[in-house]
C-alpha cells in the first residue's frame, strides 16, 4: 500500500483515514467530500491519477483539519505513533503538518519498530520536523524547493525561521546548498529539488536535471510542487527505482502543466487532469 499523511485547511474535518475516491475535483473519504486544491489534496489526487495509469490501487490516506494552529497536527502525530503498526505500507509520504519535533520523533520511533520499514518520503512541514529531529537519514527521499533546501543546508538552524535563505534562496545557490545539506547529515539519500530546474540527487551527487518543458505560467499556480511529490510517490510504489521515478515524475509534472495550456489563473485541479496523458506520452 501507498500511505499519504497530511492536513486539510478546514477545522471542521476531524482525523479521517481510508482509501479516497477521486470524483471530478473532489476527494471522497469516509463521509467527507474534500475539494482538490493546493496542498495535500493535490498531492493525493495526483498520486491517484498516476496510479490509475500504472494499474495500481488508490493510496490509503490519513488527514486532519488544521489551519496552521497545530491542534489537528498534534492529533495526527499521536494517532500515527499509536497505530502505524497496524498497517503494511510499502511507501509512506508525509506532507503538510505543523512541524513539531516531539510528535515527529514518536512517529519515527513507531516506524522503527515495524518489521518492514516502508520507503519514506517527506515534503513541507513534516520534512522540516524530520530535519529538526535530526532524522533526515532515516528517510529515503525529500522533495524540497530551494528555500526548504536552504533550511536543510543550515546546520545551525533549529527551525526555518532561523534560516538564511528560507525566504530568499536563489537557483544559483542550489549546488552549494546540496553539498552542505549532506555534509551535516541533514538530507535523505535521495533528494528531488524542485525549482526552475528540477534536480535529482543521490548522496550529494546530482544524477539528473529536468528543465523541460518550461512553462512560465506554472510559477503562478499553487500546488505544482505538491503534484510532483504525489506523482513520485506513486511511481516509487509501482516499483520504479528512485532515480527513474524522480526523473519521470519531474518530466510528467511539467508535461501535464504544458498540456493544460495554463494561464496564471489556472487551478491545480485542471493540471492534475492531464497527468495521465503526460505519463502515457513518457511511458508508452
Amino acid at each position: 500500500m501507498l500511505g499519504i499523511v497530511g492536513i486539510v485547511p478546514d477545522e471542521k474535518i476531524p482525523l479521517i483515514y481510508g482509501i479516497p475516491v477521486l470524483e471530478e475535483k473532489f476527494l471522497n473519504i469516509e463521509k467527507w467530500k474534500i475539494p482538490v486544491e493546493r496542498g495535500t489534496t493535490a498531492l493525493i489526487a495526483s498520486a491517484i491519477k498516476t496510479l490509475e495509469v500504472l494499474n495500481k490501487p488508490n493510496p490509503f490516506v490519513f488527514l486532519v483539519g488544521d489551519i496552521g494552529k497545530g491542534k489537528g497536527s498534534k492529533e495526527l502525530y499521536k494517532f500515527l505513533a499509536e497505530n502505524i503498526h497496524k498497517y503494511n505500507f510499502k511507501v509512506l509520504t508525509f506532507h503538510y503538518i505543523l512541524p513539531e519535533v516531539d510528535g515527529c520523533l514518536k512517529v519515527i520511533l513507531a516506524i522503527e519498530k515495524l518489521l518492514r520499514k516502508p520507503f519514506l518520503i517527506a515534503d513541507a512541514g513534516f520534512m522540516y520536523a524530520v530535519k529538526m529531529a535530526s532524522y533526515a537519514n532515516f528517510f529515503d527521499l525529500f522533495t524540497p524547493d530551494i528555500g526548504e533546501l536552504a533550511f536543510l543546508a543550515d546546520e545551525k538552524a533549529p527551525h526555518p525561521f532561523y534560516t538564511r535563505g528560507f525566504l530568499l534562496a536563489e537557483e544559483k545557490d542550489v549546488e552549494t546548498l546540496i553539498i552542505r545539506a549532506y555534509e551535516h547529515k541533514n538530507a535523505s539519500p535521495y533528494l528531488l529539488v524542485k525549482g526552475e530546474k528540477d534536480r535529482i540527487v543521490f548522496n550529494q551527487k546530482v544524477l539528473a536535471t529536468v528543465e523541460k518543458p518550461f512553462v512560465p505560467e506554472l510559477e503562478a499556480i499553487g500546488g505544482t510542487g505538491d503534484t510532483l511529490t504525489g506523482i513520485v510517490s506513486a511511481f516509487i510504489y509501482a516499483r520504479y527505482s528512485p532515480e527513474e521515478a524522480c526523473i519521470l515524475s519531474a518530466k510528467a509534472n511539467r508535461l501535464a502543466g504544458a498540456l493544460a495550456y495554463p494561464n496564471p489563473a489556472t487551478q491545480i485541479s485542471e493540471i492534475i487532469n492531464f497527468i495521465p496523458e503526460a505519463i502515457k506520452i513518457l511511458i508508452p
Binding site: 492536513i7 486539510v8 485547511p9 478546514d10 486544491e37 493546493r38 496542498g39 495535500t40 488544521d66 489551519i67 496552521g68 494552529k69 497545530g70 497536527s73 503538510y96 503538518i97 505543523l98 512541524p99 515534503d123 513541507a124 512541514g125 520534512m127 522540516y128 524547493d145 528555500g147 526548504e148 527551525h159 526555518p160 525561521f161 532561523y162 534560516t163 538564511r164 535563505g165 528560507f166 525566504l167 530568499l168 512560465p216 505560467e217 510559477e219 503562478a220 499556480i221 499553487g222 500546488g223 505544482t224 494561464n263 496564471p264 489563473a265 489556472t266 487551478q267
Partner: protein
C-alpha cells in the same frame, strides 16, 4: 549588545552626511515580525527588507530604520523583550544594499507579485486574486483558500490570520499587490 558602540561615532563621522539609515539584524524572523508590529504601532517609519548577501549574520529579514531614531527604537524593543543581533549603518552610497523582498511578473491580463517565497497572482482588470503559490508552512493552504477569489479592494488582510513566516510573506505580497494595482 557590543555593537552598540558603533553608534557612538567620532565627531568627524557624525558630521558626515553618509549615515542616514541602517539595518537592524535579528536571530529569527519571528522577532522581526514582532519588532515591525511594535515599531509601527508607535509610529516609527520602518521597513522590512532582506539583509545584503554580504552580511552573514541573522535571519532572512531585517528592519531598515532611520539612524537618528535608533535610541528610541532600541529602548522600545527592549521593553518588549526584543534584542537585535546587530546593527549595520549604511547610506545610498554604500556598496551594501538590502535585498528587495519583492519581484513582479507581468503576464498581460495577470500580475504576479512575489514577496520573499510567496506569490500572489491577480487579475489586473477585476483585481481578484486568482492564485497563490509558494511556501510549505502549515497555514499556507488555509490562507490560500481564504484569499482565492478575494478582491484586492477588500479591506481584509491576511496578516491577522497568518501564523508563520510564509503567512507573513503572503501578507507582504498582498499589500504590495494592493499598492501596485489599487493606488488612486
Amino acid at each position: 549588545m557590543k555593537w552598540i558602540n558603533k553608534l557612538f561615532l567620532s565627531k568627524k563621522d557624525k558630521s558626515s552626511e553618509r549615515l542616514k539609515s541602517g539595518l537592524l539584524l535579528f536571530e529569527n524572523t519571528s522577532e522581526v515580525i514582532k519588532a515591525e508590529k511594535v515599531l509601527q504601532k508607535e509610529g516609527y517609519k520602518v521597513k522590512v527588507v532582506g539583509p545584503p548577501p554580504e552580511v552573514r549574520k541573522g535571519c532572512d529579514l531585517a528592519i531598515e530604520i532611520p539612524i537618528i531614531e535608533i535610541t528610541g527604537i532600541l529602548n522600545l524593543l527592549k521593553t518588549q523583550g526584543i534584542e537585535p543581533l546587530d546593527f549595520i549603518p549604511f547610506s545610498e552610497n554604500e556598496i551594501l544594499k538590502p535585498v528587495d523582498l519583492f519581484q513582479v511578473k507581468d503576464f498581460g491580463d495577470y500580475l504576479m507579485v512575489r514577496a520573499a517565497n510567496m506569490k500572489i497572482t491577480v487579475n489586473k482588470k477585476t483585481l481578484v486574486i486568482v492564485n497563490i503559490s509558494g511556501g510549505g508552512c502549515p497555514d499556507v493552504p488555509y490562507l490560500a483558500s481564504i484569499l482565492l477569489g478575494v478582491s484586492l479592494k477588500n479591506s481584509f488582510s491576511p496578516k491577522e490570520l497568518a501564523h508563520t513566516l510564509c503567512g507573513y510573506a503572503l501578507h507582504l505580497a498582498f499589500e504590495k499587490a494592493k499598492e501596485l494595482l489599487c493606488s488612486e
